[in-house]
C-alpha cells in the first residue's frame, strides 16, 4: 500500500493536460482489470477473505444510484455491496 511520502506532493495538472493524463488513467484501469483476472485463488482469498467470486467485481467507492451498465463496465455483474 502507499507509504507516506513527505517529500512528494500529489500531482496537479492544467486542464489542457486532461487528455494525456486520461490516457495514463485508462492504461492503469485496463491493467487493474487484467490484474484482477490473473489473481491466484490464494491471492484472491488473502484480499477478499475467501470470497473469490466477489473479487471478479469492482468496488464502488461512493454512492451508487443507477445500474452499472451505464458505466461502461462491459457486462460485468453488480459490484460488491450492491
Amino acid at each position: 500500500m502507499n507509504q507516506p511520502s513527505p517529500a512528494c506532493k500529489p500531482a496537479h495538472i492544467a486542464n489542457t493536460d486532461v487528455e494525456a493524463m486520461a490516457r495514463q488513467g485508462v492504461a492503469r484501469a485496463l491493467a487493474a482489470r487484467q490484474a484482477m483476472m490473473e489473481m491466484t485463488p490464494e491471492e484472491a482469498a488473502a484480499v477478499g477473505g475467501g470470497l473469490t467470486l466477489a473479487l471478479a467485481k469492482p468496488i464502488i467507492y461512493g454512492g451508487l444510484f443507477t445500474k452499472l451498465d451505464v458505466m461502461n463496465l462491459g457486462g460485468l455483474s453488480s459490484p460488491i455491496g450492491f
Partner: protein, 158 residues
C-alpha cells in the same frame, strides 16, 4: 447573485446531477495516484469518452452534490458521511502534503474530516478492480465501523 455553495461528494458517478471532473487517476493498479485539475470541469460526453473503453469513474474523480440521506453511506443520525470516516479510519496516508484541489472548499470529506481526508484522497479510485482490503472494507456500505479487519493486502501488480 451567485448560487449558494453546495456540499460536494468527491466520489460521485458521472450521471449524477451537476457532476464535474476534478481529477484524473494515473499511477499503477497497486499504487493509483490522482492528479488534480486546476479547475473542475463539467462532465460532457467528450470528456467521458476519454475514459473509453473503461468506465469513466475508473479514470476520473468526479464531484457532485452530496446525496445525503439518499446515499447508502450517509449517517442520518450523525448527519455525516461514513465513507469519509472510514477513509480516514482505514486507509493509510498517501501523501503528507495536501493536493491543490479545486473542490476542497465544498468537499464533504474535507468539511467533515479535514486534512486527514485530503492526505488519503489521492489513492481513491471510484470504480476499483484492485482494491486493498481496507479500501474494500471502507467501500462496503454494510461496514459501519472504521476498525481494520486485519493487515492490508496488496493486489498483485499488473
Amino acid at each position: 447573485m451567485a448560487a449558494p455553495p453546495v456540499t460536494l461528494c468527491p466520489s460521485a458517478q458521472p450521471d449524477w446531477q451537476d457532476a464535474r471532473v476534478f481529477a484524473v487517476v494515473g499511477g499503477t493498479p497497486d499504487r493509483p495516484e490522482t492528479a488534480y485539475l486546476d479547475q473542475a470541469e463539467p462532465v460532457t460526453p467528450e470528456l467521458l469518452a476519454l475514459a473509453s473503453p473503461v468506465a469513466p469513474a475508473e479514470v476520473f474523480r468526479i464531484a457532485a452534490p452530496c446525496a445525503q440521506g439518499a446515499c447508502q453511506h450517509f449517517d442520518n443520525a450523525g448527519h455525516s458521511c461514513r465513507l469519509a470516516q472510514k477513509t480516514v479510519g482505514l486507509m493509510p496516508i498517501a501523501f503528507e502534503k495536501l493536493p491543490r484541489c479545486a473542490i476542497r472548499a465544498d468537499c464533504r470529506w474535507w468539511q467533515q474530516e479535514g486534512v486527514s481526508a485530503c492526505r488519503r484522497c489521492p489513492q481513491v479510485v471510484t470504480v476499483n478492480f484492485t482494491p486493498t482490503r481496507s479500501m474494500r472494507q471502507a467501500a462496503d456500505p454494510d461496514v459501519i465501523s472504521a476498525t481494520p479487519v486485519g493487515p492490508d493486502a496488496l493486489q498483485p501488480a499488473a
